[in-house]
């Protein structure tokens, strides 16, 4: 097998370790401290925010408009409608602002 093959396999093993590792560590404790539980409850908002916020820095007016509209639609509608609203605003705004 080529070196590339083994790089891919090693990368896959490293990735699987991150996906199972947190659970393996946490499950060794019989009782979860309230502060740890509070921290775990914060994980979705905390991690997913970091995938959005820095992208706003490199963005322009078209992207900002799309994010604001999608965010407002999300207050009322579901995930699919906010996503489609953002995508439409983005592609229309890029036609005019590019």
């Amino acid at each position: 097998m080529s070196a590339t093959f083994w790089i891919i396999i090693a990368g896959a093993v490293a990735t699987y370790l991150t996906r199972v590792g947190g659970h393996l560590v946490i499950s060794r404790f019989e009782r979860i401290h309230p502060r740890v539980e509070a921290g775990l409850n914060a994980v979705p908002a905390a991690v997913l925010t970091t995938l959005v916020a820095p992208a706003m820095l490199d963005a322009g007016p078209a992207e900002w408009a799309a994010i604001v509209v999608a965010g407002l639609v999300a207050l009322r509608g579901g995930l699919l409608s906010m996503f489609l609203a953002g995508a439409v605003v983005l592609s229309v705004a890029r036609q005019f602002m590019a």
Binding site: L17, R19, L48, E63, M82
Partner: protein, 248 residues
């Protein structure tokens, strides 16, 4: 109708309910699978190797980083370390979501963790809040993304040169929009706004000062740290459900 037939029908229903959730994920991630396949071949991967990487790693950002470094002939251990660093946020997902999967047989858990992507985590966490997470439903949501991800990588690798200008279509910004939707999904949770604010500021600072991909882990740790440091009752932990409802 026999009991078996009824339970089979409801299992198929659960699978497709999960798969339906993933429709926006397929739309948002599909172009990246094709792009990855095209770039991978451009950087010296064979079609088989590109497809294998999508099937074995199943993590878009880390695959892009890996293939970029590979193209620059960086030492193999550094490529693997970079993939690990980009995927490090999954440690937090895995720690948090384990509560909802622990009642499954071990082999099912092992398979579920292999497919634990950002949206998959958000779906499972959200479902676990409302009740028990079913394995069939989980696999419906996960495989609906995994199968197109692998197939579109192969398509991109085969026909890479034919891919049109994705920037004009806005493809590069679809994922941030989608991730914002996932963030908004959790807005009913205690401390949501303070956590989002702290993570946003911390990740932007880390992005500027430390650089990618560490801004993800550092920004996330800042938000989690806020919830850990504040007295637990702010997070609604150790308080009975009925008491939370009475809070203003």
């Amino acid at each position: 109708m026999s009991v078996d037939a009824v339970s089979q029908r409801s299992e198929a229903g659960a699978f497709w309910r999960g798969a339906r959730l993933s429709i926006p994920v397929i739309v948002a991630s599909g172009p990246f699978a094709m792009l990855f396949g095209a770039i991978a071949v451009d950087n010296g991967f064979s079609v088989f190797e590109a497809t294998l990487m999508s099937a074995a790693v199943f993590g878009g950002a880390s695959q892009m980083v890996g293939i970029e470094l590979f193209g620059h002939h960086v030492a193999p251990w550094l490529i693997v370390l970079s993939i690990f660093a980009v995927n490090f946020r999954h440690v937090l997902y895995s720690a948090a979501v384990g509560r909802h999967l622990a009642h499954w047989p071990l082999a099912q858990q092992a398979a579920a963790y292999f497919l634990l992507t950002d949206p998959q985590y958000a779906f499972a966490e959200s479902a676990g809040q409302k009740g028990k997470v079913s394995f069939v439903w989980y696999m419906g949501a996960a495989l609906a993304v995994y199968v197109p991800w692998v197939l579109l990588t192969a398509a991109g690798a085969l026909f890479g040169k034919l891919i049109p200008d994705t920037k004009a279509l806005g493809v590069d910004f679809l994922l941030p929009i989608y991730f914002l939707g996932l963030v908004m999904d959790f807005r009913k949770r205690p401390l949501w706004l303070p956590i989002v604010a702290v993570s946003a500021v911390a990740s932007i600072l880390a992005y500027k000062l430390v650089g990618s991909p560490w801004h993800v882990s550092l920004g996330a740790l800042a938000g989690v740290a806020l919830a850990v440091i504040l007295p637990p009752h702010h997070s609604g932990v150790g308080v009975a459900e009925t008491d939370i409802e009475k809070l203003p």
